[in-house]
């Protein structure tokens, strides 16, 4: 792997940039690996990276049915925060934020992590009480989060309409200053480059069509569109397609896959200094470094794998955006798209073992997986490599739906996800 630096940039400038090489190989699948990761999104690539780096597993492969980072990794609104209510969630998302803070240096790849602050608006008394509870719970967990009055919120985010005359006036806001955004594609590419340099095979256009099991019931390999691969460990990190992959191993999952949409405006000069979310009127917005306003909508109501949703869902979000930021009503929207998100009943992820020996799953991140990418990969790498969960993901078992020990962030959010 060629180290990216000021020196390499100068050297290539003199060389008319003729010396840059491909950042990862395109290997043919080997007949056998020590472990196979199914799904080449951010979480899958991060898993492979940390398996190679921290657990010394170099003879592993990431199988991706399309191209890496082409699913939800390339479709999200790139928001990063860790201000979750429950201790278990706070631990895993904060683990991720701490990894984000050093990720560009770790990967020698600029993921453009920008801690510009995430502001969450309260529009009614229930929001105010709920968000203050979050602020206190976060502080107990050592996570920064603070309560702002409407005037303070306006000072932090000047475009915000804090007039008492709007339909849902702003009654205050919770601010996590360490929250922000990152360049989503760079996360996938950075992890792919780092993993590849340690010997991990990243195999694209390779769909897993079956899970092979040995006479003892344990995983012995996978069937793919590019031939069978023998392996004793399979980690499924397939996001919206997890139910489809797990069905091939004969397992039903507590998941439903819904379309989640986002859209971007035409690029404009810097107008928006932070990330702003409003759960009550359902809008979230930030400005990318290209200048586009990046806007996230809600999920559609029905199960779908079509990677598109209803226009009324995005319209609803635009209504809210225009109410909070009347000046944006004249902006044109350039593109909208959908991703398929796998949602669990308690809106918390599932990271751990399954009933089949050698089969591990990391799924159920629902509408908020991007922010967790480094932390998710880090703890899942531990889980697959050691065969036992990392203390941080130990509560996020599949078995919690049987025992009743749910991590009910859905109820904690005070709004529909």
């Amino acid at each position: 792997m060629r180290h990216f630096s000021f020196h390499s940039l100068i050297a290539e400038s003199i060389n008319a940039h003729q010396g840059w090489k491909r950042q990862w190989r395109a290997p043919e699948p080997k007949p056998a690996y020590d472990a196979v990761i199914v799904g080449g999104g951010g979480h899958g690539l991060a898993t492979a990276y940390y398996m190679a780096k921290e657990h010394g597993m170099r003879n592993i492969a990431v199988l991706e049915k399309g191209w890496i980072g082409g699913g939800n990794t390339g479709r999200n609104t790139t928001i990063i925060r860790s201000n979750y209510l429950y201790d278990e969630s706070a631990a895993i998302y904060e683990h991720a934020v701490k990894l984000w803070e050093g990720l560009s240096q770790e990967l020698n790849y600029n993921v453009m992590f920008s801690q510009r602050g995430v502001l969450m608006l309260a529009h009614n008394l229930h929001d105010v009480q709920s968000f203050k509870r979050h602020v206190y719970a976060n502080r107990l967990n050592g996570i920064d989060n603070e309560w702002l009055t409407p005037e303070q919120a306006k000072a932090f985010c000047p475009p915000l309409n804090t007039s008492p005359d709007i339909r849902y006036p702003v009654m205050g806001a919770a601010l996590q200053r360490r929250g922000g955004v990152a360049r989503h594609d760079a996360v996938a590419w950075g992890y792919a480059r780092g993993a590849d340099a340690m010997g991990v095979d990243i195999i694209q256009n390779c769909e897993v069509t079956g899970i092979i099991r040995g006479p003892n019931g344990a995983v012995s390999g996978v069937e793919t569109t590019r031939g069978d691969i023998r392996t004793p460990r399979v980690g499924v990190v397939a996001a919206g397609n997890t139910s489809v992959v797990m069905e091939r191993a004969g397992l039903r999952m507590p998941l439903e896959s819904f379309p989640l949409q986002a859209l971007v405006s035409e690029p404009v000069k810097p107008v928006f200094p932070c990330v702003l979310m409003s759960n009550a009127v359902h809008a979230y917005i930030s400005q990318s470094d290209k200048g586009e306003l990046v806007i996230g909508a809600g999920t559609d109501q029905y199960v779908s794998y079509s990677q598109q949703g209803g226009l009324h869902i995005t319209t609803h979000t635009i209504d809210a955006i225009c109410e909070l930021f009347p000046q944006f009503s004249r902006l044109r929207m350039l593109r909208n798209w959908g991703g398929v998100v796998d949602v669990t009943p308690d809106r918390s992820p599932i990271i751990g073992k399954t009933s089949i020996p050698g089969l591990y799953v990391n799924c159920g991140w629902g509408t908020g997986g991007f922010k967790a990418t480094p932390g998710s990969g880090h703890v899942f790498a531990h889980t697959v490599a050691k065969g036992e969960p990392h203390p941080i993901n130990a509560p996020f078992t599949l078995d919690r739906f049987r025992t009743g020990r749910l991590i009910d962030e859905a109820a904690a959010a005070a709004v529909a996800h």
Binding site: R252, S257, Q301, V303, Y305, F401
Partner: protein, 96 residues
């Protein structure tokens, strides 16, 4: 937005409807007789197929009635609708 065919009213826009999730999940007759695994499967586990999905819809801003539908989740195309309580139609044979 989907064009949903209400089994009673005909084609209507999706905003008149509420999707009620997977169909044909019957509440156990005697819940206390179930073990935790069977109860969690009833509560939480779903088929979530990429392909034909049987699901419940409620024409909440219309006639108010519930019905079942078969829809392809890869294309979002509705394939059939049928009353609550009926068996899932076999699309290949056309037998209800």
């Amino acid at each position: 937005m989907l064009l949903v065919t209400c089994h009673y009213c005909g084609d209507r826009p999706e905003i008149e409807f509420r999707c009620g999730g997977e169909a044909h999940i019957a509440r156990p007759v005697d819940p206390s007789a179930l073990d935790d695994k069977a109860w969690s499967e009833f509560l939480f586990y779903r088929t979530n197929p990429k392909g034909v999905h049987a699901e419940r819809w409620n024409h909440v801003h219309g006639c108010g009635r519930w019905f079942n539908a078969l829809r392809n989740t890869a294309t979002d195309v509705f394939l059939a609708t049928y009353p609550m309580g009926d068996k899932r139609p076999d699309l290949e044979t056309g037998v209800k």
